[in-house]
């Protein structure tokens, strides 16, 4: 179940290969535009920004792929894709596609790929994107690289060079799909920057039928229960995060994190040991196996800064670390550090922010 376990000692792969002429016919960069409950997922726009660069490097077109129930809402996603850089959109409209179901979406996307043959296909590494990407790649028998942090075109052979963390994020590896098309990759939300939309941009729409009837689909959606507190989306896209780790020693001390977060109007994050111990719910975990975040301010209290956590938050603008251990790795990459007992520093910090805000409010 791993991506290849790369051994640094292996001999360099021959990357200069003649592409099978049948595969050379695959042209263009595609981004799957994910949406649920009438809203496009921001990761799709982040990917369009990245896809634009790849398409320009290759001198090909960038396409959005929009699938959904017939109607205004679905067509609006095409317009948004144009704003974020797409030249054209492939549109599959069918009532069967109203809710995400693996079978129908796999079939629709696989058919589109076979019909229009893109060389690169990008999807968000969300629960939907990973479910779909794994199924489509297996059906098409092609390569898929998960959770990429960097995408480039290899000038040697015009193939996609997809870089991702390996060994829990302590090393990076660049993966290529040489003799198979399309080259598929997923990218987690917030890893790529969101481009500025250009609302004057437009493009052309290519419609394609789904070719399924409802009775072909075995799985039925009985109900969709929306989250009460849209925790998941909020953490990944929060501008301020206060996170706690094992250094808080006892679950009840985690309240100090909540206290500071409330004063700042911030989201609460946590390291893996703390979520595994059940101090807070698993969807608040930041790190390689949790969420990737890039807030303006990240306050980490009692978090040592292990690689697993670091890769999920090091893109933050400013990192404040509080830890008792002056040798904790988090001080190697934080912006500011306080060596001290988090149980004493946190309340002081909460109070300092409270006073600052009270003064600002009076002045403002």
């Amino acid at each position: 179940m791993s991506q290849q376990t790369p051994a640094p000692a292996t001999r360099p792969t021959r990357r200069k290969v003649e592409l099978d002429p049948r595969l050379a016919a695959y042209k263009g960069v595609w981004v799957f535009v994910e949406h649920e409950r009438g809203v496009a997922h921001q990761v799709s726009f982040e990917l369009l920004g990245e896809g634009r660069k790849l398409a320009d490097a290759l001198g090909v077109e960038l396409a959005g792929v929009v699938m959904g129930a017939p109607g205004e809402a679905t067509r609006r996603f095409c317009a948004e894709a144009f704003h974020y850089g797409a030249d054209l959109c492939y549109l599959v409209e069918d009532p069967i596609l109203a809710d995400y179901r693996n079978e129908a979406y796999t079939r629709g996307l696989t058919d589109l790929v076979n019909a229009f043959q893109p060389e690169i296909l990008l999807l968000g590494a969300t629960t939907l994107g990973r479910d779909l990407a794994g199924s489509v790649a297996t059906t098409l028998q092609t390569g898929l690289t998960a959770d990429c942090t960097e995408l480039n075109i290899d000038p040697e052979n015009r193939s996609l060079a997809a870089t991702r963390p390996t060994f829990g994020g302590s090393l990076l590896c660049t993966i290529q799909t040489l003799n198979y098309r399309p080259q598929m990759a997923t990218v987690r939300p917030r890893v790529m920057t969101l481009p500025e939309p250009d609302t004057d941009r437009s493009g052309r729409i290519v419609e394609h039928p789904l070719g399924l009837v409802e009775t072909d689909i075995v799985t039925k959606v009985l109900e969709f229960i929306p989250d009460q507190n849209r925790d998941q989306a909020q953490l990944a896209y929060a501008d301020i995060i206060v996170a706690g780790g094992r250094g808080l020693k006892r679950p009840e001390n985690f309240q100090l994190i909540w206290d500071l977060a409330r004063v700042l109007g911030a989201e609460v994050g946590a390291s893996r040991p703390v979520t595994q111990a059940g101090w807070v719910s698993a969807d608040r975990q930041v790190g390689q196996t949790g969420k990737t975040v890039r807030p303006k301010l990240y306050i980490a209290a009692g978090i040592s800064g292990a690689v697993q956590h670091r890769v999920g938050m090091e893109a933050s603008d400013v990192i404040i670390a509080i830890n008792e251990d002056p040798a904790a790795p988090i001080f190697d990459f934080a912006t500011y550090g306080i060596v001290g007992n988090a149980m004493q520093i946190l309340p002081a910090l909460t109070e300092a922010f409270r006073q600052h805000l009270a003064t600002a409010r009076k002045a403002g």
Binding site: T13, T289, Q308
Partner: protein, 281 residues
């Protein structure tokens, strides 16, 4: 009710350290464990067996040492354990891995039909979440990923109802067996191994299958040959930041430290100050 649970043996990443000077990974002495996400899958399968009876088969592809992971699974209560191991699998990416595991599951099915194949939501070393969907497509199983709860199974009607974690909510899905279920973390707690099972696990004659025994004829579908992706290079990340500026005061009192920190923070990063003031309304 027959469940197959796919397990992977992985290095315990919480024990992996990076060398501070050379920035290389220090793997010596890192213990191998069952991928933690797979334990939720195993417990889900065992719970179904408690409810509906039947059998739980643990399946693992890996080097011979992965036997330890399977014995652990037996000690928790798995009835059977099969290790698929062959040098020909070396270098398999997710596509080749799902091919090999799907072949092995076909062999298992000859013995007893399989109702559900379980996997964890992903591994902690590869983190791809691709093998589960891959197995499902190859065996034409209904795919249910990120399952938070199995609400109901009707073995007569061959129906299963689950809660699936989706973006922004939970999908209540009904589908037909056989299905492949990838289990979300934290939905159950692994039971303790009881003494009888621990003895049984130690004595159990593990089934060890090589490539042929796993039903794989075409070697071009496994290992490096069967893997569309190639690793072009492996490298250490560039250190992106300077070391932290440590906040110190004469008194060392928490209040002074906090005040000094805020003054420095807001002077150097006015956009953070603006964000704090905007958000705290």
């Amino acid at each position: 009710m027959h469940s197959v649970v796919c397990l992977k043996q992985v290095p315990d990443s919480s024990q992996i350290r990076v060398h501070p000077v050379t920035n290389t990974i220090m793997r010596q002495g890192v213990p191998a464990i069952i991928n933690p996400y797979d334990l939720y899958a195993l417990e889900a399968a065992l719970a179904l067996k408690d409810r509906y009876g039947g059998r739980v088969t643990a399946l693992c592809m890996g080097p011979p040492q992965a036997e330890a992971a399977l014995r652990k699974a037996l000690s928790f209560g798995a009835d059977e354990a099969i290790l698929v191991t062959d040098r020909a699998f070396a270098g398999s990416d997710t596509l080749a891995t799902s091919f090999a595991l799907a072949s092995a599951i076909r062999q298992i099915q000859r013995d007893m039909p399989v109702d559900i194949v379980f996997t964890g939501k992903q591994t902690i070393d590869g983190d791809t979440a691709q093998v589960g969907p891959g197995i499902a497509k190859r065996l034409d199983l209904q795919l249910l990923t990120y399952v938070a709860k199995i609400d109901d199974i009707d073995l007569d009607r061959r129906e299963i109802v689950v809660q699936r974690r989706a973006e922004g909510g939970v999908q209540l899905l009904m589908t037909r067996l056989p299905a492949l279920v990838t289990v979300l973390e934290g939905i159950n707690e692994m039971r303790f191994a009881d003494l009888d099972d621990m003895f049984r696990a130690a004595r159990y004659p593990l089934k060890v299958w090589n490539r042929e025994q796993a039903g794989i004829e075409d070697v071009a579908k496994i290992g490096l040959k069967g893997s569309p992706t190639v690793v072009a290079k492996v490298f250490a990340p560039q250190a992106k930041r300077e070391r932290a500026e440590l906040i110190e005061t004469h008194s060392g009192a928490p209040g002074d430290l906090a005040a000094t920190l805020l003054a420095k923070l807001f002077t150097r990063f006015p956009h953070v100050q603006a964000q704090v003031q905007r958000q705290a309304l």
